[in-house]
Amino acid sequence: MHVHMPTRRKMLQHTAVGFGYLALSALLQEQAVAERSLLNRGVNTPANPLAPRQPHVTPHAKRIIFLFMKGGPSQVDTFDYKPKLQRDHGKELPFSKPRVQFSDTGNLWGSPWKFKQYGENGIWVSELFPHVAECVDDLCILNSLHGSNAAHGGALLKLHTGSDNFVRPSMGSWITYGLGSENDNLPGFVTICPTLAHGGVKNWGSAFLPAYCAGVPLGVASQPSSDANVRYISNPSWSPSGQRLQLDMLAQMNRTHMADAGDQAALEARIHSFELAYRMQAEVPEVQDISDESAATLDLYGLNDPVAEDFGRQCLLARRYAERGVRFIQVTHSDTKVQWDQHGGLEQGHSKNAREVDRPIAGLLRDLKARGLLDDTLVLWGGEFGRTPVAQGTNGRDHNPEGFTMWLAGGGVRGGVQYGATDEYGYFAVENKMHIHDLHATLLYLLGLDHERLTYRYAGRDFRLTDVFGDVHRGIV
């Protein structure tokens, strides 16, 4: 004979009497309603907090693919041609270097690479990026980026979260928070082979934003992209039908428990989270399985080239997630050495890196265009800062956050354009200067979000990605 021992909760439920508790229950009811309304902002419910939300204004783009070149690629060797730098090679920099530098540097050092003109507007691109150069008519090259931190840690955090000294939600989290996701079965923010260095998980974390906004990492930079997958996505022991039985019984148990514990949003959300997990288990492997791609596509991304294969797969996965409605997909180029951070060995290092990414990036752009996705997909390329036009040591360049280059493609930006400029040597941004905050404001604008209205109340004030900064650069549209 089994006796059902009552929980404390149940006992109190059955014995509570008196007017005091009536008043209290009204108070608690209000709190429960407030809790519910937090979940029910707009159209989302505990069942689906990721439901797509309307942006503030008409968007140009619906999603972003961020190709992150960790370490800081040198602009004067890639997309910011400086003929005066070539001519004055070896001379001293005629103006003052920044007050805060990362290391000591020497004199001007011309680019070891040749530049050629491409596209309808004759844009100069170095020989490091022959494939991407062919796509220059789709690129909006931003030559006037500048940041405020000369060290990797701070610079990565600044680029990814908007702050180099506080813990803040990442770009992708803000965007997921603002727009939801177009796919019920996938996360809104995915980061492919992210680096764990210099901020690590904070670069895709959600900080104080709701947890569903956090990025889901696939693999990690130190492992091949063929191993990249969502953690715990498959069960080594049970079949899907076995798991279905488990989930059904679990849902029953949880509903009975909820009847006792009271209708709590958190408990209901948990029941739904298992259903979403089950759907993710089915959908993620399908996205990861690239065997349904044509041979031509695999070749386009460079998967037949052993040097470009790893990054090529990352770019291909990015496209696959993009076409399934994921809002923010980050692809990180970061090997286990120093990536683009060539304090020495610039020629060797940048050559190797460019070789690994050039073909896949061009492949991604062409593929997105062919599938009609480029119009509403924004592609952002760049690193956390650039490099100095003056030499470090005999064959390197130091960090340079004062002026560097990133480029955008798709998502309504003007193609075949160079926006903004650095000084004649490529050191400081001088024309149409775009701070990291401005970049964030502009990205949000392109997605239809007003960076000043996308806020979240936490610890007594309204936070936003751009904090109290940021100007939108509408000139690029």
Partner: protein
């Protein structure tokens, strides 16, 4: 007086792991000592994304290393406090990756295996008795009559899905469906939320 209407509280990250290890009898209760086996500057200081930290110990969660840049993923999954700031505030989130962890992680599957191994032999005790023991061990209470019925139904149906798997012998299968049942109890809201 207030408790019957109070919001339920979910266990934090460390008690979740500790509870799973404890009920399955796998918790190593050794106290003291350091779990940091990697030299100081090798915790992700440099550019590489190699993490040398190991989290496969069975000791209490309080002994596991906390690496700010790359927190143990089970902890960050269950809202461990941000190790870079001085306040210990933790939100309580409910997201699908947590459910994935409950459904598929080795921590859970190993715990279920251990739980089933500790049950008295199947041919001596009746299924009812075993179900009662599992409920008491995991949820701290005996099952209701209808819960026993549901559990038996589940065991039968799950067994049917295993019949199709190749290379699994009778004895192996029998243990598997009990493991699957344990997993449901460990994944339930009742296990993870304080009453």
């Amino acid at each position: 007086r207030l408790q019957w209407r109070a919001n339920v509280r979910r266990l934090e990250a460390e008690p979740i792991r500790d509870a799973i290890l404890t009920v399955s009898g796998r918790l190593d209760t050794t106290m003291g000592g350091s779990m940091l086996h990697v030299k100081n500057r090798e915790f992700l200081f440099n550019h590489t994304s190699q993490d040398g930290t190991k989290y496969d110990s069975l000791r209490r969660s309080i002994y596991l290393p906390i690496v700010r840049n790359h927190l143990y993923d089970v902890f960050s999954l269950f809202d461990y406090a941000d190790a870079s700031v001085t306040n210990g505030n933790r939100p309580t989130s409910t997201v699908a990756p947590q459910a994935l962890f409950m459904l598929n992680s080795q921590l859970l599957l190993d715990a279920c295996k251990a739980l089933v191994e500790r049950l008295p032999g199947g041919d001596v005790e009746s299924p009812h008795e075993r179900i009662r023991l599992l409920y008491e061990r995991i949820l701290g209470r005996p099952p209701l009559a209808e819960e026993v019925v549901k559990a038996e139904q589940f065991l039968q149906q799950f067994d049917d899905t295993l019949v199709d798997a190749e290379g699994v012998n009778e004895a192996g299968q029998k243990l598997h469906e009990w493991e699957a049942l344990c997993q449901i109890l460990l994944a339930s809201n009742e296990f993870i939320y304080l009453p």
